[in-house]
């Protein structure tokens, strides 16, 4: 079961890699694979048992898979130190301001839709 699901995931990733090479060099292969799988699921209308099993198992260990690439930061210590405050400043300010904007906008749109539905 698990293996069948994994095979599907690998297949979509490889398909993405091929398309990336042929037409869409702007988009990374796994991303194309993700979009293709999403389209496939929308057409089918449901997630098959093996696929959901494989996806869940793999995504549970996603943080672990991310550790080795993150360790690569040690190579860039000098670049980070140089721009440290600019980086932290941009990240902190932009996340907090966008959070407020997104929350406020969504709340407005939802209440407006509710009100309109109430009228109709």
């Amino acid at each position: 079961m698990l293996l069948r699901g994994l095979t599907w995931l690998v297949l979509f990733q490889l398909l993405g890699t091929a398309l990336n090479h042929l037409f869409l060099s702007v988009l990374p292969g796994p991303i194309i694979g993700l979009v293709l799988l999403l389209l496939y699921l929308m057409v089918r209308g449901q997630v098959s048992e093996p696929l959901s099993l494989a996806a869940n198992s793999l995504l549970r260990y996603l943080p672990l898979l991310l550790v080795p690439p993150a360790v690569g930061v040690m190579v860039y210590a000098a670049e980070i130190a140089k721009d440290f405050w600019a980086i932290v400043g941009s990240l902190v300010v932009s996340v907090l301001v966008s959070q407020v904007l997104v929350g406020w906008l969504m709340q407005r749109l939802v209440t407006r839709q509710r009100r309109r539905e109430g009228q109709a």
């Binding site: 690998v10 979509f12 990733q13 993405g16 988009l27 990374p28 796994p30 991303i31 694979g33 993700l34 979009v35 799988l37 999403l38 699921l41 997630v47 696929l51 959901s52 494989a54 996806a55 793999l58 995504l59 996603l62 943080p63 672990l64 898979l65 991310l66 550790v67 080795p68 690439p69 993150a70 360790v71 690569g72 930061v73 040690m74 190579v75 860039y76 721009d83 405050w85 600019a86 980086i87 400043g89 941009s90 990240l91 902190v92 932009s94 996340v95 907090l96 966008s98 959070q99 407020v100 904007l101 997104v102 929350g103 406020w104 906008l105 969504m106 709340q107 749109l109 939802v110 839709q113």
Partner: protein
Amino acid sequence: MTLDWQGAAQSVIHHPLFGIGITLGAYQVVLAGYEKTRWTFLQPVLLSMLLLIGVLTFCGISYDEYRQSTQILGTLLGPATVALAVPLFLNLRRIRQLFWPVLTTLVVGGVFATGLCLALGTWFGTDHMILMTMAPKSVTSPIAMLVAQQIGGVAALAAVFVLITGVIGGIFGPALLNRVGVRHAAARGMALGLTAHAVGTSVALQESEETGAFAALAMSLMGVGTAVFLPLAVSLSV
């Protein structure tokens, strides 16, 4: 007879399995600590990374050697990224009625979050390389790493910027949203998931199931949206 301790230590340290061994070890130690305390700022990836950098420096292993020995984990990251389509599909099905509010908020908020970070970065005078790495910071790490690399940034740094963003958003987000009077569960979820991805989503799940569902949806939509449109936007503007 004297035993060659030094030689034994060297052959252990430079064995191809050593990198995987310390990665698995560090991750489990950190995960156990995180599960006990549940402090948002103890993000397992961030702490494992610090721990591993310490171990590698101590043992005198270069990053290149470490990367080669953990290559198998990196290879699995591709299918794991593809697998993100499954939760996205399940989330999409759940929120049909709020389709337009969600889509509008996603487009406006997503462009704003990315644009503001780039504007601030330019204003503070950061390198182009750092700037391109910061652009996908509101997106879940596997996608952010791919996108950053694609547009001229650095995958490793992107993973860390993403985590910093997530931790800040996750810790201060709920209080900030209370402050500005955002009480609706869907709105809080969108705000947390769109800007602070997985960390925000886990915080949102603690508030309520509905908040969590919207956070998960916002996170995956923002991820796919950024993955598709940011490289296109960058390739058109250069």
